[in-house]
Structures are given as C-alpha cells and as structure tokens.
C-alpha cells in the first residue's frame, strides 16, 4: 500500500496514534535492554556483577555491522543471511569480553565493579576505534515479520513489525526462567550465587560456573548490541553508545533477578522511550526536554512503590555484593 493510499484511510486519533507508538516502542526499543538484562541476570544469579556490558554491547554492535557488511559485499547472494552471521559474531565477541571480565574477577581482591567500568571504557573505545571505516558503508538489516500489514494505517503497520531478535528474546526470557528453576545447570548456577561454599562442597568450581555465566551474559549482551547496529537505528556511529548497557544492568535489579520480569521491565522501558517522540509528533513539544526523564522516572517510581526495607533483599543472590 503506497503512502498516498494509506493517507486516504481515516487518520488515527492522537490517543490511538500515541498508543501504537508505545506498542511499537515496546517491541523495537526494548530489544537491546531485553538481551543485555537477560545476560546480566544470568551473570548476577551466579554471584557476580558485570557493569561492563555497555562496552560488550557496543563492541558487539560494531562486530555485527562490520561482518554483515563484509559478507554482503563479498557474497551478494548471501545478503539475507549476512546480518544473522553478524549477530552470531557479536555474540562471540561478547563471550570473549565476558571471559575477560570473569578471568580478571576470579583473582583475589579484584573489585568486580571496577573491572566492569574499566571494560566498559575499553570496550566502547576499542569499538569506536575499530569502527571508523564502517561509518560510511551500509550493512544489510535484520529481517522483520510484518505482523501489522492487515492495517491501512502506517502507524499500526510499523508498530507491529516484529523483528526476529525480539521474538528470540520473547522465547528466551521464559526459557531462562524455567531453566534456572528446573534444570541441574540452573540449580548449580543459582547455588554459585546463593552460597559459594555449598557449591564448592558439592564439588563444583565456583569460578568455573561464574566464568560460564559471565560468558553467556556477554553473548547475550553482544547480541543485544547487534540489534542496535543491524536493525534499530541500523547504523554504526559513535553516538550509538548512550548508556543503554548500564541502564539494562540496573533493570536487572529492578526486575529482582527474574528473567520474566526482565522482559516486562524492558518492554515498559522501551515503551516509555517512545512516548516523547510520539507526543511531539502529535504536537506537544513544550517541555520536550522532560520527556527524556520519563523512562527513568517511571522506573524509579515503580521501584519506590514496590520496594520495602524488608523485601528488598529477597531475590538478591547472596553472593552479590550489591545489597
């Protein structure tokens, strides 16, 4: 349907337009937060904090973009699969970064939070440096399922355009939640996070478990980064790094270390980020500077409302030092 035909259809009322903008935001803007927070969830459940996921995410973004571009230009027939190979490569880069974090933190007396911050700076700096040749070229994008094409309205069609990674995340969150609770691997991981002594007593190397968990977390963070460069906004630029990785780590605390709640938190956060532009598109520009605070303010308000001094530590892995 051409834009002209679309505009013949009755225009959406501002309220409905904003609603669909929020839905679209919940789907497309949430994906990086979703993957990074799920990854961090695994890492923190094993008893370690990885604040460096912003660096991992951005490094994953540039790796995915570069790989997708190189493959698509060298093998034009493979253009449809090139971005997915990029996603995989981004995950592998994430594994390496996660491994680096785990190796450093396994040593005694090393402060995990400091390592995370150092890796964040290193990761982002390295990504920007290596990504210089990829600012001009254009890499192919990830495909999306056009689940909204039944509608005559462009707004609904674009809101319901669901990208593959989001679907993956939708499946991943409950799978991880179930896995943590019901599988042996999940139980070992949780034990490393709740009581390192008990895990050791049962013969498991706590450092090994945390290494694997941090690598898995890094993988997911890398994948989350690939979404940024290969779908939304779908470019590589220095400005891609805006603290989403750090925010996603915070969302894990908000979500009480539960993968399913991470999903809802990400959806909510993504929707909140779409509110500002949606209101401006509807004509409400006054005070637009304050729209940027909506996601954070909303998250903070919910946390204040739902936390209490008695319940705050419930769900926090005992071995984590952030409690």
């Amino acid at each position: 349907m051409s834009p002209a035909e679309a505009s013949q259809a009755a225009a959406l009322s501002p309220v409905v337009a904003v609603f669909f903008a929020l839905v679209g935001g919940a789907i497309s803007l949430s994906t990086p937060y979703l993957f990074v927070s799920l990854g961090e969830c695994l890492t923190e459940r094993s008893g370690r904090v990885n604040l460096g996921l912003e660096g991992t995410m951005i490094l994953g973004a540039v790796a995915a973009y570069a790989a997708a571009y190189q493959i698509a230009t060298t093998y034009p027939g493979a253009t449809w699969v090139a971005p997915w190979i990029g996603v995989l490569l981004a995950g592998c880069v994430g594994v390496v970064m996660g491994g680096l974090h785990a190796w450093l933190c396994a040593k005694e007396r090393v402060n995990h939070i400091a390592v995370g911050i150092a890796l964040m700076i290193f990761g982002v700096g390295l990504a920007i440096y290596l990504g210089k040749p990829y600012i001009q070229p254009k890499a192919p994008h990830l495909q999306a399922l056009p689940l909204g094409d039944w509608s005559a309205h462009a707004a609904i069609r674009s809101a319901l355009k669901i990208n593959g990674l989001f679907l993956l995340g939708l499946v991943l969150a409950p799978t991880l939640a179930w896995g943590l609770a019901n599988t042996r691997v999940g139980m070992i991981l949780r034990m490393a996070g709740e009581s390192a002594d008990a895990a050791r007593a049962l013969g498991y190397s706590v450092n090994r478990v945390r290494l694997l968990a941090t690598c898995a977390g890094g993988f997911l963070a890398g994948v989350g980064g690939s979404f940024l460069s290969l779908y939304n906004p779908g470019i590589w630029a220095e400005g891609l790094s805006r603290g989403q990785g750090l925010m996603a780590v915070a969302l894990v605390i908000f979500a009480r270390w539960n993968p399913l709640t991470c999903l809802f938190a990400s959806l909510m956060f993504g929707a909140a980020e779409a509110l500002g532009p949606a209101l401006q598109a509807a004509g409400f520009s006054r005070g637009y500077q304050l729209y940027a605070a909506v996601p954070a303010a909303m998250t903070l308000a919910i946390m204040i409302a739902t936390c209490s001094t008695k319940r705050t530590l419930a769900g926090a892995p005992a071995e984590l030092s952030v409690s």
Binding site: V110, V115, I121, Q289, A296, R311
Partner: protein
C-alpha cells in the same frame, strides 16, 4: 537462634577489632614503620610495573593494529600530559573536577554503597550555583562565591542523600536509584537551562544568565613563571580530598562508617546510627560532586548550559575505584587520568589517530591496575598482616 546471635556477636567483635587495627598500628614501633615503608614501596613498584605493562600492551596495539610507532606516540603522550608547562596546565584543569566527583563514589563506598549518579549531582549543583549567584547578584564576590559553592554543594548533596533515604526507608538499591536520578536530573537540568531560566540572548547556545565576571573562579595569581597555570578549583579539590580522608580514615565518623560497611548486623548490634551515617555520607558525597559542578561552571563558561554535561561525574567513578576508594589516593589518580585525557589531543593531531585511542589506553591501563591488585600482597618483602 542463640547460636546465631553468638556468631554474629563474635563476628561483630572481629570486625571491630580489624577496623580498629590500623589505628593500633600507628604506634611508633620500628616494625610498624618498616611495614608502612614496605607498603609504600610495594605500592610504587606494583603501580610502576602496571604502567609499564600498560604501555607495552598499548604499544602492541599501536604497532599491530594502528600501524604507528609506539615510542613516538609515547613521547607525545608524555609531552601532551606533563611534558610541557602548557600540557601540565591542561592536565591539572582536567584533574581538578575529577578529584571532587571521585569522592562522590569513594565516600559512600566506605559504607558498602555503590553510588554511580555523580553526574546528576554535578549538573544540579552547577545549576544551583548559577541560581545562587543570581540571588546574590548585588553582593560582592566574597559573599557570592561562597554562596554559589554552598548552594551547589547543598543541592548536589541532597540529590545523593535522596538516594540514601530511598535506600534506608524504602530499601531501594542505591546503585540503580542514583543512576535513575542522573537521568531525571539531566532532564530537569536541560529543561531549566533551555526553557525556564534561559537567557534570551544566548541564541544558538541555550544558557542561563551569567553569574557575572566577578564571580568567576579564576586562575591562581602570583605563581612563579615555571609553574603551570592552575585555577582555584584544583585547590578546592585537594582540600576536599584531604579533609574527607582525615574524616574517613582518622575520625570516629569514618570509623563508624567502616564498621557499617564491614558488617551491617554488627553495626546494628553496636547501636550505631546507621541511617544517620548513610544520609550524612551521601550528603557529603553529593556535595563534593555539586561543588565540582559549580567550579566547572564558574571556571570558564560562567553560566549553566549543555557544556556542563561532559562526563566528569562518570569519569570520577573510575578514578574512585582505581584509588581503591581512598580519598587521598584520589589525588594522584585524578592527576594521572587528567594527564592521559589531556594528552589525547596532541596524539590525535600528531599521529592522525582518532580520539577513541585515549579510551583504549585508559581501558588497558585500568584493567591492568585492577588485575595487579591480585599481585599486591604477593611480593616478597610485603609483610604478612600489613595488608588492608
């Protein structure tokens, strides 16, 4: 239940003993002096070795990936950081705010809190400074400048104390609350600067009305010609660091804070006023960041605008961690960090390297510094038990 409380009591006694130990060791015995000397020697050797290792790793990166001559780059890094009088001035200017913003993380760390919202306190503190200057418009600089610093410190302090209060009364984790408060604070700052308090004549660079030439924080006058130019903000930073170090490492307040940081249950059993400690520490920490905001605002721009949002708060977090949350160690680490960032410009120009190269080096250096913590206690002449 009885055995549980006995264990806790025993634990608390042990914590108090270990927290008190440093004070005991300051008795002037030759063994204690030797231990202190060994500790310093150990520190210098390890940190020196780390710097060398970082240069080697970075050199490999430069040679293999960037295709540049590492030694030429090192020479310019030195020249651009502390090698010439002008670079020294630039490095000091960059280091000054970092000393203050690092305290915003270092002080609450004593209580076991991880605060990362320094940037929010800095921005709102800077804005408060501007508003104070406007309120005291007619007063002479001798009254207006302290008013600005006080206002900035108070507002910054309250912003972090808010997170502290949320922690104590609602159980909200301070890491996430300070981060969220940063985003909220940034939006508020931008709205006030670009809308409510905007100076209509500030056209393409939306800013508040200025604080006036007289109220700017200027360069330290009367320095000998060989000394680099520095501004009074550096003095404020050093004073704050020394004062908080004395407070935290040698005062009863700091002692109580360390007990809370070591074992909250023990502290509670001892009847320490935990909430008061948390709130006061957060107030102090936030005030350091707020004062940093006032200084940054008043040293060049003289008004609040988007230039204040330059990542100084976040850089302070790294400085605090590398300094191991010790306010005195913050000073040299800030100088190091300032030097590295200042040298970035010269390296960019002379070697056609992108600005991100500095971040790569910073990352490598600080990763190795942190890795070296593992080796800190293992060098041969380090005495058993002299470790912190």
């Amino acid at each position: 239940m009885t055995s549980h409380s006995t264990t806790v009591a025993a634990q608390s006694a042990a914590t108090l003993r270990s927290a008190a130990a440093p004070a005991d060791r300051s008795s002037s015995s030759p063994a204690a002096a030797r231990a202190a000397l060994a500790s310093i020697a150990n520190g210098v050797v390890v940190q020196g070795g780390v710097l060398l290792a970082a240069l080697v790793v970075f050199g490999v990166f430069l040679w293999l990936i960037a295709g540049k001559n590492p030694f030429a780059v090192y020479a310019d890094m030195w020249k651009g950081s502390y090698g010439t009088r002008f670079s020294q001035s630039a490095s000091l200017a960059k280091a000054a705010p970092l000393m203050l913003t690092a305290l915003c993380t270092a002080l609450p760390a004593r209580l076991g809190m991880v605060v990362i919202g320094n940037e929010g306190a800095l921005l709102l503190g800077g804005l408060a400074g501007v508003m104070a200057a406007q309120a005291f418009g007619a007063a002479p600089a001798g009254i207006a400048i302290p008013a600005m610093l006080l206002a900035g410190g108070l507002v910054g302090g309250l912003w972090i104390a808010l997170a502290g209060a949320l922690r104590q009364f609602r159980g909200v984790n301070e890491t996430i609350s300070t981060l969220l408060l940063y985003y909220v604070g940034l939006a508020l700052f931008t709205f006030v600067v670009e809308d409510v308090l905007r100076d209509p004549s500030s056209l393409n660079k939306p800013s508040t009305v200025g604080i006036g030439e007289a109220n700017m924080i200027g360069a330290i006058g009367g320095l000998p010609a060989w000394m680099p130019e520095m501004h009074w903000g550096l003095v404020v930073g050093v004073v704050f660091c020394v004062a908080t170090w004395l407070l935290m490492d040698h005062g009863t307040f700091g002692f109580a804070a360390r007990v809370v940081g070591g074992n909250v249950k023990a502290a509670r059993l001892q009847g320490l006023p935990i909430t008061r400690l948390v709130l006061l520490t957060c107030l102090l920490a936030g005030s350091a960041a707020g004062v940093a905001g006032v200084i940054e605002m008043a040293v060049a721009e003289g008004k609040a605008n988007a230039s204040l949002n330059a990542g100084l708060g976040f850089a302070g977090i790294l400085v605090a961690f590398v300094a191991r949350q010790n306010p005195l160690a913050v000073i040299p680490v800030a100088l190091l960090f300032g030097g590295i960032t200042a040298s970035g410009g010269l390296v960019q120009r002379r070697h056609e390297l992108p600005d991100a190269t500095v971040d790569v080096f910073t990352g490598i250096l600080f990763i190795l510094v942190l890795a070296s913590e593992a080796f800190a206690g293992r060098l041969p002449w380090r005495r058993e038990g002299a470790a912190r």
